[in-house]
């Protein structure tokens, strides 16, 4: 490790967290009145905004619509000011298209699309500040937005990243840890059933360590699901108080 020590001898990480500790998550739902559902989520310094429209009539060519379920259309974008170096294209590059596809696959596993045949559900997510775990912040924000829109889902989808440093799995990596060149695994989980919606790992890892790493990511996802749960319940109570008076 050149200069940077990702995990100190005392077991603390760069930002002072323990190995399994998550970053602080703050979230709000119904941030826009115009959309059917929306949410804003901060996971440490990573900030994401998600907006959901639908289900509505399929836009564009009708050949895209499916006769037995709804089409989920995802668009991922990053604000030009979200990274240290200013971005040229906020969306449409190769990386964003891949992310959009991953988000689409994740939510096809969770949303009960068969209830809305021949229609379309749009999910737009934007990263306002990128500090590692962009995919997971997007998934968590989009889950809140879908719940806010009242779109039926099997379960929440919670996503979290996990890394592996000096034989220890680290949960919820920040940008410095992610760019260190080590292993990073992204996992999207349906926490109550324990089903995995998406699992992605781009680096090499010894097979013996994989189970420990997945276990760490799953624990982190379950922790996150409690936070999302609190946000949803709090919002429901606020709305019911407002409408009753």
């Amino acid at each position: 490790m050149a200069g940077l020590e990702l995990l100190s001898d005392q077991g603390y990480r760069l930002d002072g967290r323990k190995a399994t500790e998550l970053r602080k998550v703050q979230a709000r739902t119904s941030v826009f009145a115009q959309a059917d559902g929306s949410a804003y989520l901060e996971q440490g310094n990573t900030k994401a905004l998600a907006v959901v429209y639908g289900p509505h009539e399929t836009r564009g060519s009708r050949s895209k619509s499916l006769h037995d379920r709804a089409v989920i259309n995802c668009q991922f974008s990053m604000a030009t000011f979200s990274t240290a170096e200013r971005k040229r294209r906020p969306h449409g590059d190769r990386k964003s298209s891949e992310m959009s596809l991953h988000l689409k696959q994740t939510f096809e596993a969770a949303v009960l699309t068969e209830l809305y045949p021949r229609s379309q559900i749009d999910i737009y997510v934007k990263i306002l500040q990128a500090d590692g775990g962009n995919y997971s912040a997007c998934v968590n924000a989009a889950t809140l937005a879908l719940v806010d829109a009242g779109i039926p889902m099997r379960d929440y989808v919670c996503a979290c990243t996990a890394g592996f440093v000096e034989d220890t799995p680290l949960a919820d990596l920040c940008h410095a840890e992610e760019s260190g060149g080590g292993t990073s695994l992204a996992l999207a989980l349906l926490p109550r059933s324990g089903n995995i919606a998406l699992l992605q790992m781009d680096a090499r890892l010894h097979q013996d360590h994989l189970d420990a790493l997945i276990e760490a990511a799953m624990t982190a996802c379950k922790g996150l699901s409690k936070v999302l749960d609190d946000v949803v319940r709090q919002h429901l109570e606020e709305v019911s108080v407002l409408t009753r008076d």
């Binding site: 009960l112 009242g150 929440y156 319940r233 429901l236 019911s240």
Partner: protein
């Protein structure tokens, strides 16, 4: 009113032996789970098991379904079909418009081959219709007005006045007394609001 129980998507509500799954729920492994965030509502209907459903403060988006009676507005006509915008499903307004088609052969039940779309609808008419299919790759929602209760309910004459129905196939303008052809609906009294 007693405080109702909150629930979130994925939460187990009860077993299938206790309740029948309703709106906002789904079945898995013999249990009923919530698929929406909202309040749990149990409704007893006679001797049968209560129906359990999840209700929300704001009504969820509704989609036109096969067999549903919809209210639509005619946007364009040609000799083969009339194009419409679906505005209501039953009595619930839709948030955004869905497009639909009423084909010539679906306008009325008798003498289908003699139907002329120009003598049945005009752009701007408000029509009651029934959904017969969600359509295929080329087409939108397919609708029919081949029932006495279905057809034009509100139409304006060339003079701009709202016309009065005089038979099942004719309407008259109260200002000019000119008669125009329409496929008129015999509106059931329960649909008429005071």
């Amino acid at each position: 009113m007693s405080p109702m129980k909150l629930c979130v998507p994925g939460e187990r509500l009860c077993s299938t032996e206790d309740c029948i799954p309703g709106n906002g729920t789904y079945l898995r492994h013999g249990s009923i789970f919530a698929s929406l965030a909202g309040y749990v509502l149990r409704k007893n209907e006679g001797e049968e098991l209560p129906v359990i459903s999840v209700v929300r403060e704001t009504e969820a988006q509704l989609l036109p379904d096969v067999g549903a009676i919809v209210t639509c507005k005619v946007t364009s006509i040609n000799p083969r079909f009339a194009k419409v915008h679906i505005l209501y499903v039953g009595s619930t307004p839709l948030k955004d418009r869905f497009r639909g088609t009423i084909r010539r052969e679906d306008v009325r039940a008798t003498e289908k081959d003699k139907v002329e779309t120009y003598k049945s609808f005009r752009p701007g008419d408000i029509v009651l219709a029934k959904v017969i299919s969600l359509g295929d790759v080329q087409s939108n929602y397919l609708l029919t007005t081949a029932e006495n209760e279905l057809g034009v309910v509100v139409a304006h004459s060339e003079a701009g006045a709202q016309m009065v129905p005089i038979s099942w196939c004719e309407m008259q303008c109260p200002r000019t007394h000119a008669k125009e052809f329409r496929k008129v609906a015999r509106v059931q009294p329960e649909y008429l609001q005071a």
